[in-house]
Subunit: 345 residues, 2 copies
């Protein structure tokens, strides 16, 4: 007969044990440890020491049950349908990191869930008292997901990044300004026939905003904007590659490419290079997002990067405000140009 392993559960020390050890009542322990100012210093000291000695830690479950608040935020990462969790766009992973950091800085825990299809869409964190509110981050492409989260109803405290609808409580990059930044950078460096690889009809709201920024910068310079459309349903790199190929074959003259995402720009860059175009001499290429891979391409990709730290903070702050009953207001995250080798110096 296999011997039963010793009880693996950590011996539970309750506030009663601490109370006994410190010679006070249980409620005094609770107050002392919570920093209640009504507790006298000597008492607090006795309690704190007893707690330390017994290695006491508050049972957060009990505390939360009593308080009614959880001190936790749920972070839902929306993937493409059927996509491996690990293949998530690195941009979103970076955002996840910054969001967790911001939440921690404000004393919140973060519950993370990856969701990709109706089989696992789930946003009832508040009702189950698992979290006080929810941050939803993900690609607009997964329309089913946004349909789901859009119907959660009034009482739901949430913010999102990537929503296809302006009715949602969103936080977004300053796409228009970023695209202008990118386009002007190319103009200043002598590129004239700049083509935008993107879409104005994609559910990705930001793609339209980026196209508009590009178009405005072009018109400001007295030039005509031109959009080379990407095909839906492909991985982003492939979309970029195909769009670049189509552009070349159309015979339209061009010396600059503004891709509405880094991965699109990288796909285009690769396609053009393989067709013998010299980058940045013959053609300049600029992307948008600041993903790590862009630093490794040949040449490295000039791009527009969002301030991730601000993005995470904004998401968390807005959510906390919503939880606190304040009226939500959309927010923009500032962007900056990262000049690398895919545009002329």
């Amino acid at each position: 007969m296999p011997e039963k392993r010793p009880e693996n559960r950590i011996v539970r020390v309750t506030s009663f044990d601490v109370a006994e050890a410190a010679g006070v009542s249980q409620s005094t322990v609770s107050r002392a440890l919570a920093g209640d100012t009504s507790i006298s210093e000597p008492t607090r000291k006795r309690v704190t020491e007893a707690a330390l000695r017994l290695n006491y830690q508050v049972d957060e479950n009990a505390a939360r049950l009593r308080r009614g608040r959880t001190g936790t935020l749920a972070l839902v990462m929306i993937c493409r349908h059927g996509q491996d969790r690990k293949d998530l766009n690195p941009f979103y992973f970076a955002l996840l990191g910054s969001t967790c950091a911001a939440a921690a800085a404000r004393g919140y825990e973060v519950l993370v869930a990856f969701q990709d299809s109706p089989a696992n869409f789930w946003g009832r964190y508040q009702e189950r008292r698992k979290a006080d509110g929810m941050i939803v981050i993900g690609t607009s492409e997964n329309t089913e997901a946004w349909d789901y989260f859009g119907t959660l109803g009034e009482g739901t405290n949430w913010v999102c990044w990537g929503a296809p609808s302006d009715d949602f409580p969103w936080v977004r990059s300053d796409n228009h300004a970023g695209a202008m930044l990118a386009t002007r950078h190319m103009l200043v460096h002598g590129y004239r026939n700049i083509v935008c690889l993107g879409s104005e009809t994609s559910p990705q709201r930001q793609f339209k905003e980026r196209y508009d920024g590009y178009a405005d910068a072009m018109r400001d310079a007295g030039l005509e904007p031109f959009l080379q459309r990407i095909e839906r349903g492909q991985p982003r790199e492939e979309q970029g590659r195909l769009a670049a190929a189509a552009l070349v074959e159309s015979g339209r003259p061009f010396d600059g490419i503004f891709g509405v995402s880094d991965e699109i720009a990288l796909g285009a860059l690769k396609e053009l290079a393989s067709r013998g175009y010299r980058i940045p001499e013959d053609v300049g290429v600029v992307g948008f997002d600041g993903v790590r891979a862009g630093a490794w391409s040949a040449p490295p990709l000039t791009t527009v990067e969002s301030d991730f730290e601000v993005a995470g903070s904004l998401l968390v702050d807005r959510l906390i405000a919503t939880i606190g009953g304040e009226a939500p207001s959309p927010r923009r995250v500032p962007v900056r140009l990262v000049v690398r080798g895919s545009t002329r110096p």
Copy 2:
């Protein structure tokens, strides 16, 4: 005076409400919804319908308090000291994704925390009843972190990836096999003077294992292994670049590079290319990890990739086994070679 917004809290429906609506006792509701087999079908149906109608959701806090288990796993991501959360090695982000997926598949929630320094090291999840156990993922370089987690004590249920000590409950890639795979691949394709860029003394256990795998494959082929050491304290890319530069300047003949991580290999690749070496013609380069950036380098990097899905599953399964007091599952994650352009076809 600003009007106070209506109570933002979701109206709480308790099991008592459902009980009343279904005309049964509260405990019957609990049992019916928990799937207790002693409940008769008609009763269960009445209860389920009432719950649905009232939009009832179990208060997990109360349930957990009562049960004593949380159904939650904590996932601690260890960053380099002072590192931005978003700059975490993409390999770890991928692992985070797979781990969350595996946990979800087994019915667990995941609480994620990024930690980088003594100021925020924290692993008392069980004591606070925030989680039933803990998965710690991170670079061995942060020795302070591992010192901290190493002292948490007996009762702590945990598993880790990246631990510098074999005394920890670790799960790791099959580094030795992967390195042999990589080295043999180069040998088969005609490279002879293959140099390993890495370290046998790094706290990164896996670096030593990878070096050993490389060395064994070399000796099997009757060749002498050679290690070009990387310098500590630099970012990985820089380490690779510097090691490659040092190798070139040493005058030692070489026609193959095995970098013990992708970022090291990418740094070397860049340095060699800038010095006029043709890759893969003059020199073949292989990395280890399978990070996304490798697919974008010029040429794309041949590498050894861990099966992320298995990695996440193994971490979660081992932890769950530990929580349950069972014998733990295997700890090595299988790897595979991903052939790209940095080695001759």
